[in-house]
Symmetry: C2
Subunit: 402 residues, 2 copies
């Protein structure tokens, strides 16, 4: 078996953890597998390097910042390879460039164009375990790049694809993907498997588990990913092409409490008004999560409600106020006390009852639904933030996920 | 003009010094020169990285140790390139591999085989200043290597040769090469120029100025090196092909107080005995500095005296004791209280009077000469360590160097 094992910063916080990870890799090699290790920078290294860059120049030089940042992963890769060698597993640290990860030249957020794993194949043939620096590559014209923070997952999946590995294991301090955030829903349990699309929809609670760009790459290249904990023996969660389980159309529920609702009250009730408001926000680089146009009033006026991420709140308010003036609306209402409860599952599209079950569950708990949104594999409701925890537990139980 | 400027660790001790160096480079670029910068790691980075390697594995993995160590120079190169960019001089950090420095695979002490400076030429054509990490390269099969400590000088000289640069400036905290160590000889003065061979002979006092391997590379490739201080305006010392100045056959004097004398007393006085003793030491990897066989005694016995570096003393004693037993000698005499005074100059070979001047100077000061050695460009005497400072000043004056 050929296995890619990726260990993030939380698995490499200090030398003791690094040694524990090395033992784990060593045991996998000892049991007869060919392993390619991908590592992030240790502990706070990345933040420390950013601070040093700020101290010198304010970080205005993206290509040189990438050059600086990559040293963090290089150091952890070198130490990991040394420790593996000491344990008796010959190992060699490699940069993204050496591993053949070719990217475009968007420094700081480069995208992988191609993987040429010749040096990796050569090392594997010599029974040397490559330890590859995550989150970095090299442009076609020879400049080092980084894939952006969290890009180590992407490195692992891209290598697994290029090496046609049998397995790609992403280790973190979380034991996989859960039916709900266990900090909010006490009886949440780890999923054995879920689909790429479900994983994408669960990004809000899966962010610690697997980065979104990495899931997209895995879906595109068909790499099966095993998300598991460095510190627990559980096999974790497989992210793969799954069949729909008709008995359980919903796989997991998710909660997002980092949203703000903006209401444009009393705008003209004519076609294109909602689109106009959305366009203005898009031009300002603000993503809209949900949008909802209320029924027209007698005086041919309508209300438009939309939600944005909390971090975009101030900018979104400014854009919406100007839009309101241009459209001739009457008021802007801003509400930060909201939460979004979602039921996610590949079976949602085929089961008309999913939305009904969700609404009933919330109604039974006397929780008011402010907005509704549905997609192929998700039904979401906006509720008051005060009701968020209760709503998530209610929905989790209603779909029998506990 | 195309200029290579190399700045060592003493010039990059902290961010303030790094900024001062960047201003210096920026001014050189502003005045119309094409500059390639070579940097060492900042301050204690190299020692810190070594410590981290020791903490993990005892450093038993040379290729991974090189991978770790190179991050020190990468960080200083990145910060330097950022600071240059901030000042308005577009700059790009490059690793040894990116700079096209190809080496053999002797990790930790790799030798440069070839320099392919395409990326450097491309950046220079775009008026971007390359900032190259010193002391490292890449093997033909793609593994990163280091040239060994101090190899940053070598990087600069190799790049100057490959780029046919007009000048190669090696900056340190010393204002060039002196007629004698100024800490020992108060009236020593900086030399305007000296030859490669003289520089090699002065290695003991020139170590802070220029590394021996780098001088050999410069001699072989004909690169003129300017050794100067980062912190003083003086032009420093030029190391180049020089004409012999008949009026001053001796360029500088040198002192080495890190030697031990070993005397094999009463060994058989027959051909090959000295060679046998020297071979034994060579087999043990111990360099002999001087060797001297005393006149035979009446009973066909001789004394052999030789000097080794203090750091080899214990091992050399063990080898000599065994050699003495094998040869049937009578005693081993070890004397650590010695010093070597040398007069160095390209004119020594043509001036028979040099040795005589040296001996006369020491005799006039009532300093006893224990051993003598001469080469093409050097005359050396072993004296008591207690006489070392007085001897060096005496000889310095005798050759009119003050």
């Amino acid at each position: 078996m050929r296995v890619v094992q990726k260990f993030g910063g939380s698995s490499l916080k200090n030398v003791e953890l690094l040694r524990a990870v090395a033992r784990r890799v060593h045991e996998t090699v000892q049991s007869g597998h060919d392993v390619v290790v991908v590592v992030s920078a240790m502990g706070d290294t990345t933040d420390e390097l950013l601070e040093r860059a700020q101290a010198v120049s304010g970080g205005e030089s993206p290509s040189n910042l990438d050059f600086l940042m990559m040293t963090g992963e290089m150091q952890s890769a070198a130490l990991m390879a040394m420790e593996l060698s000491r344990l008796g597993t010959p190992a060699q640290a490699l940069s993204g460039a050496q591993a053949g990860i070719y990217t475009n030249r968007e420094f700081g957020q480069a995208r992988i164009h191609e993987v040429k794993p010749q040096l990796l194949e050569k090392l594997l043939a010599q029974h040397t375990t490559p330890v590859v620096t995550g989150f970095q590559g090299v442009s076609a014209d020879g400049f080092y790049t980084t894939l952006g923070r969290g890009g180590s997952d992407l490195t692992a999946i891209a290598l697994a694809s290029a090496l046609t590995a049998d397995s790609c294991e992403i280790y973190s301090d979380v034991a996989g993907v859960f039916t709900a955030d266990p900090r909010v829903v006490p009886n949440a349990r780890a999923l054995q498997s879920l689909s790429y699309d479900e994983m994408l929809e669960l990004a809000s609670q899966g962010a610690q588990v697997l980065q979104t760009q990495a899931v997209l790459y895995a879906r595109q290249s068909g790499v099966t990913v095993q998300a598991r904990s460095t510190f627990e023996p559980d096999p974790g969660t497989r992210i793969e092409i799954t069949d729909v389980d008709d008995a359980h159309p919903v796989t997991a529920v998710a909660l997002d409490v980092h949203l703000t609702k903006l209401g444009l009250v009393g705008v003209p009730d004519r076609p294109g008004v909602a689109a106009f408001a959305c366009e203005r926000l898009a031009q300002a680089g603000i993503n809209i999560d949900l949008v909802f146009q209320a029924l027209s009033h007698e005086n041919a006026r309508a209300d438009i409600a939309l939600t944005v991420a909390d971090r975009d709140r101030a900018r979104a308010e400014a854009v919406c106020e100007e839009t309101l003036r241009e459209l001739g609306g009457s008021a802007l209402v801003v509400d930060g006390d909201i939460a979004k409860v979602s039921a996610v599952g590949a079976g949602v599209r085929n089961h008309v009852g999913v939305a009904a079950t969700l609404f009933r569950a919330l109604a039974d708990a006397s929780i008011n639904i402010q907005m509704i949104s549905t997609s192929e594999i998700k039904v979401s409701c906006i509720v008051a933030r005060a009701d968020a925890t209760r709503a998530l537990n209610q929905v989790h139980d209603a779909f029998g996920l506990g």
